[in-house]
Amino acid sequence: MRLHRILALALRILAQFIHDTRTLGLMLVVPVLVMALIGYVFRAQEDGKIAVAVVNEDTPSGGRGRLSQVIVDGLAESEKASVTSLSRAEAQASVQSGASDVALVFGSSFTDQLWKNRRTALTIIVEGSNPAQAGAALGTVSGLVMENFPNLLKNMMPKPLSFLFANGLPLQLEIERLHGNASFTTVDFFAPLSIAFLSFFLVFLLTSVSFLRERTHGTMERLAASPVSRLEIVLGYLLGFGLFSLLQVAILVLFTLYVLKVQIIGSVFAVLLVTGLVVLGAVNLGIFLSAFARNELQAIQFIPIVIIPQFLLSGLFWPLADMPGWLQVVARAMPLTWANEALVDIMVRGRGLLQAWAGLAALAGFAVIAGALATWSIRREVA
């Protein structure tokens, strides 16, 4: 094995990038654009107030005050909700049209029931066609309602006793986060894997296409009739694409941290290391799979096989532990699952490289196995 031949291959790949400005743009600009979209979409979702339509039909008997008003006032004061009072029919129309995210209906016997049975019912109406949106709205509104319940109880005490709760209920709810903090948003959770995913996807696609060209344009034939060995070819590709991806990932990470202001607790170096391992695996996998494609279109056809399952099973959308057993096995065989775990460990949980060792080892193992397959796939009868 000769270093200068590996360097020659790596330099060639870098020179090809420089001359192919469109691909250069794709590799450096597109990840940033996609990351920006991910960032702004999730931010927009979280920043918005929830529009709550309140239908208050509460009519207490015996001249008592409406206890429902305590909750409505609490909602109105909250920063997370904007409240409008409507009739039941108006509220339904408003939710239907999307003007309101959720409607709260206090029935006519809300106060009476509470006094009489110590329990009462509250109806919440959501549009429901988008479960994620509905879930988020429901979560926020129920949270706000529960927050205001102590005040409600206070109102039910006889005046002389209410001093007991002057400082709220004896039970105080304190939320303790093991990781992240109150300002942690979905983007902060999505960002780590998005970085790894974008690099994996683009590098895999590019390697498989450029290696396919090597095979179809006859340059592989030339390399095979030269002193360069199969391992040197794979290492040269790794070095060339590795150096280039380092630039790509660095731009992406800087953008994510300083423009999107995604919070990361662990070290940036660790993030680069994990992503670097992901990229090495992607290069090797690209070389290996390019052997099974006869043209560029066929290389593109690997995307639904290689990319999409990894995206769905990486644990980003669906916790690994909740998957059926056999699917967990499949997910464990995919590098992005391990990358996601390692990156969440580092960026969200603030763990060090040593604590994320399992993910790193799995990624390195994947890169080595894919590298062996890649070397094997460069078929030359005479070794």
Binding site: R5, Q16, L223, A225, V382
Partner: protein, 246 residues
């Protein structure tokens, strides 16, 4: 002595026999033609001689080493021009040459530059050094492809149909290059399916269905077949080979 020598060389792809009892010898410093129709085994022979394919049986010795065992010793001394251009479209002409020069082990920048300049001049591409390969015309690509095979100063050149799709003027300049290389002691093996290229070779082998019909200079072959031109000789020899018992 002989630069390439084969004895009962054979190569099968599954049940198809691409080369069979293939015997020939190429002398140092000559231009040797492999002449035969498409699918007659020319490319298979060249790929065996550059160490890309293993013989199924028989022997082949290249530059004094038996293949495939002696491949590592032989490969750096051979220049190979495959049928497909084998160029990097996204590299400039000079970068293409520089890459192959590096791959073949030229580590000194100054020597590499000298070799590249020489190859560029030979291919008539001296003024296109910084053009991207994808912007070159078909003939220019063909010349660059030849230059890439030459850039490491090989002793033996194996050219697979180098003049296909090349206009007559360029074809003539190719043959002039080959002559100049011969004078420097470089041995050239060139395959072609065009009969009128045969006259330019010192010696040639007529090939049909993986067998060597005849080896020699054009006059020798004509004489043996008793015909006035090479094409009739090919047909006559092919006829007697087909008629003869296997």
């Amino acid at each position: 002595m002989f630069v390439i020598e084969t004895a009962a060389l054979a190569r099968r792809f599954g049940r198809i026999s691409a080369l069979d009892r293939f015997d020939l010898a190429v002398r140092k410093g000559e231009t040797f033609g492999l002449l035969g129709p498409n699918g007659s085994g020319k490319t298979t022979f060249i790929r065996i001689a550059v160490g890309l394919l293993r013989p199924s049986s028989g022997r082949i010795e290249v530059l004094g080493h038996e293949l495939p065992a002696g491949r590592a010793a032989v490969i750096p001394r051979i220049g190979y021009m495959p049928q497909a251009h084998g160029l990097y479209e996204d590299l400039t002409v000079r970068e293409n040459l520089g890459f192959f020069s590096r791959i073949f082990g030229e580590r000194s920048g100054a020597r590499r530059k000298a070799r590249i300049d020489e190859a560029l001049a030979l291919a008539g591409l001296a003024d296109r050094g910084s053009s991207l390969a994808r912007t070159l015309s078909g003939g220019m690509r063909q010349r660059l492809s030849l230059a890439c095979a030459l850039v490491h100063d090989p002793e033996l050149l194996l050219l697979d149909e180098p003049t296909v799709g090349v206009d007559p003027e360029l074809r003539r300049s190719f043959w002039e290059h080959f002559r100049a290389l011969n004078r420097k002691g470089v041995t050239i093996v060139v395959s072609s399916h065009v009969m009128d290229e045969a006259d330019r070779c010192d010696r040639l082998a007529l090939i049909r269905q993986g067998r060597v019909l005849a080896v020699g200079s054009v006059p020798q072959i004509r004489e043996r077949a008793g015909t006035a031109d090479l094409e009739s000789a090919f047909l006559a020899l092919a006829g007697s080979a087909a008629g003869a018992p296997a």
